[in-house]
Amino acid sequence: MNPLLAIEDLETLLHTGNAPVRAVDGLTLNIMPGETFALLGESGSGKSMTALSIMRLLPDVGEIVAGHIRIDDTDLLQLPETTMRKIRGKRISMIFQEPMLSLNPVLTIAEQIEEVLKQHFNLSRQAIDTRIRELLEQVGIPDAPHRMHEYPFQFSGGMKQRAMIAMALAGEPELLIADEPTTALDVTIQAQVLELMRNIQQRNHMAILLITHDLGVVAEMAQRVAVMYAGEIVEVAPRDAFFDHPAHPYSQQLFASLPGKHKRDQSLTVIQGAVPSLAQQFSGCRFADRCNQAMDICRQAIPQWHAITDEHLVRCHLLNDERRQPPAQASAAPVPQMAKNAQPTSVNPAVLLQVTDLKVHFPIREGLFKRTVGHVKAVDGVSLTIAAGKTLALVGESGCGKTTIGKSILQLIKPTGGSVRFKEHELVSLPRPRLRQLRSHFQIIFQDPYSSLNPRMRIIDILEEGMNALGVDPSRHSAPGDSPATSKHEEIDALLQRVGLPAEVKWRFPHEFSGGQRQRIAIARALAVHPELLICDEPTSALDVSVQAQILNLLKSLQKNLGLAFLFITHNIAVVEYLADEVAVMYLGRIVERGRIDEVLSDPKHPYTQALLSSVPQITPHPDRRAVPVTGDLPSPASPPAGCHFHPRCPHAMPICRQSYPPVSSFSTTHTTHCYLYPQEHDSNQYEH
């Protein structure tokens, strides 16, 4: 069979800085008609540049210097721009990562789709309207005839991505390039969009080039996988072969660095170092410096392709002539088995943080005098407890109020009601000077390492800020095993070493660091004041898998050595499985289920928890996995549905669910949920409306 798209030796340069960056360096791949081909790689590996090269939409600094991109024997790189315009959207379409940014906010959805149709087809007014309606119905937008005349701001994130897909499908393309199509979406929405893409592909027999960093998405979607590293492809394989026995050390180490339940008691394998600078000429294997199986030859000769089977190709010296099979679990070998978490002898360790019935309502104001017309109930009666040295994970989709809880515990947002007790201190309504004395006990780590460090301050100033503000005396607290830090500078050096950075970095500015390094600095900043509780607000979600593993290892070792308690706010179930002791699932400002990690994740009770867990793309197919369909989007917290908030999306909704919020149901001393499917306890009816 002839490939639909054939890329040969593509080389794309980016002329930024002093030396040109070889963003794509000799890339060759074939995509067959109707198949889903996944391009997998970390950020900076050249995935997106490949896609933009195919579309010939490179930024101004980009230049394709060599290679061929053929679609049905037409070389796209030879076409004049006018002809290329007939190909974009017609034969190849593209959908982008951020649906919020890829739709024009001042045009209606219909107008934007019409643009594509007018460019490629000669249709009458009537036909265009019908076609737009068909397209929107095809991507599952309800009430398409009306909604097509709405503006993008009236669509939710998932709906926008559906509209984007509809627009991409408008030209009936043979190839759809999807650049991280679901990265910006929540898991339940991601599951819907992936399902939609699968259906459309089967129906239209269209090829998809799926660009992603998420192994789970690859496992669910792709038929063939290519792993990209530092501008070139290092492994191509059919999906099953790839997931059964990845051959390239990079792929193996990627798998090993994924967090998960079975790795709870060990530290994750990390890929040392960072992606090498692409501005250089490589004389050996690009991965050699980070590879745990590197040999002398790896640094001397560029590896050639080696076929394991006809379809499974690897670029690695390990598979040289003797066809030495790499040890399947090579990656697991060097992992030092972390001692089983020394369980405190007391069964009930001291409660560190007790949150009771916490409420954070944001007023909606209107008019000249800013009259309050309603409230966004971001957090609506949440109770949770964290024991010293333990980890509570708070799980939920974006917009459910997770971050608000974190900030209101720290009193960065004033709670509307409820109480937050830290040890014996009530934090709500504590006056500012008193609160300040307590601040060193609890700290926060933020999601985005790029905006959490002041770009105009040196690392030393950043680290000193908290110490100075809270008057932390470095000599007083020195963890056992450390040499007693006498001066502030030594303390800072010790902090940086503890988070795995050399002490010299304190003289630099944040922009000189990569995302993972910045997150380490942010952790060091929080540790500088010797907190007992760290609130981690999605600390790894902006990071690559290999970097995420480093940060998770760091957090875990910190907990072990310093006895820190974590409130871990995340949407990543795998991270929860790896790190958390207890888990609380949140939906629209309320906790719907909570319990110990094994109770909740292996036996979820609430339909939302079940749906959430089943929406997470899995690498290993679970035979007993029940697919719980979840439809629709998260409702606005300004006007939550009456009764159980989840009932409009719940497959088991009953009449009573629409009337009142379900009281608590207990399954064990620790495992509770709020759902009418289970017998209720009668004493608690605080949520009744």
Binding site: L14, T16, N18, V21, A23, S43, G44, S48, Q97, E98, E180, T183, A184, L185, D186, A274, V275, S277, L278, A279, K407, L410, L412, L435, R436, R439, F442, Q443, I444, F446, Q447, D448, Y450, S451, S452, L453, N454, P455, R456, M457, R458, E465, A469, L470, E504, W507, R508, F509, H511, E512, F513, S514, G515, Q517, A522, R525, A526, V529, E538, S541
Partner: protein
Amino acid sequence: MPFSPILLWTDALIYLLVVFVLCFIWYVRRHAHMLTPWKRVGHSTSGMSALTILLFFLLIGLLDTVHFRPALEHKNDEGNAVYSVEVLSLLDVLVEPLRTQVEKTYSAPLATHLYAKETLELPGGRQVRTFARLQHGGAHLQDPEAEYNDDIAWRSAQGLLLGFVIWSVLTAAIIAGLARFHPKRIPQSISAIWHRSTEIPWHAILITLFILSMLIGWSAMLASHYHVLGTDKVGQDILYQSLKSIRVALVIGTLTTLIMLPFALLLGIAAGYFRGWLDDVIQYVYTTLNSIPSVLLIAAAVLMMQVYIETHPELFETVASRADLRLLFLCIILGITSWTSLCRLLRGEAMKLRELEYIQAAHAFGVSHWRIISRHILPNVMHLVLIATVMDFSGLVLAEAVLSYVGVGVDPTMISFGTMINAARLEMAREPMVWWALLAAFGFMFTLVLSANLFADAVQHALDPRTRTFTRKITTPPNPAEKTAILSNPATAAPAAAPIFPEPPQR
């Protein structure tokens, strides 16, 4: 004493500003991490050229700031010196001939005759209507028609030679200085400048200096016997007026900004950072202020001031101090009316910044509001302030011209670009046209504002820690002495290269 020093209000403020700047420089020099970004300003070719020109303007402005009253020849009854009522500056003394050689009326640049015909009485008693000879411009020529071209050419050549000599001396001084501060020999310094491999673009500075000194030498040689830029209606030398205007422009540009900045910074950041009722109040204030036509406000205030000055003549010893107080007051009024746009800009930026996570982290440390504003918000809005003030600088110099046109600008006795333009404006319509006054004002203003803009651009670029300004040419032989100075840290290159395209945070 042959003179009595005079300290005008604006003089005092300018001295204060100079002291402040010197203190700042001293402070920065002692802190390596603050010095590094400022050193990077030196990497910008255009910035350093602009700075050279700007320094020249500043020098003229400062010379014009040192005021005194010369002693008159006669003494009073008690034998004490009597001082002139006329206040002079150092600049006036330096360019004495320009100030004193006054013609009758208009004359074109480098002319020997007046621009208008007038009736002259010949020695025979006959009256003739012709272009009269100038009293000073080309007065040394016996026969202007025959000697004029040769004289101009000869003096030009002399002037250019003088300029070249000045430039050579400066260049020699710079090269000697370079050789002294860096352990290098003089030929190496010269070759480094020639190959443009120095850290500071000395080649650009030298080229700028060359042009400047050529111009200065040329005009200095000609100005003693001609009016290089012509004369105005009352016969004053335009070059002299232009030089005098520089100080007024600098005063209006800098003092007004200084008066405006506290309002804009304090109110703008407070509104954006604290939000709530404070934000509402500040917003209402600047919206109200903005909706009053500022010319009206300024006119009213200046007229009130004028009445006050005229009813209290005993407060002012000299005309210059009157004019100076009016200038200061104009700066204050302009400052009070022009802070709104910067304030609005800063409010928006502060609103954006306060939600950023590093500010949240600072809150979590219990850092006080004042420290958050001064350490986190202020440094991150400084680029806006810098751009806005430089943009305002040119706007203010122009505003002064407009206000002088309306009649509420600087004192009519004070020479400024505004009064020059205002006087020249009427003559544009006349035939033949008097173009040189306007052109001179335009040329000087343009150069001043452009170099200020370019320099501010370079500063803003360099102060952003994310940019690297100095790209070393690969062809030049590496020099270990310089290397440490160029990249603040040799290891910076490695981690900076890591993410080429940082992907947006994934939610």
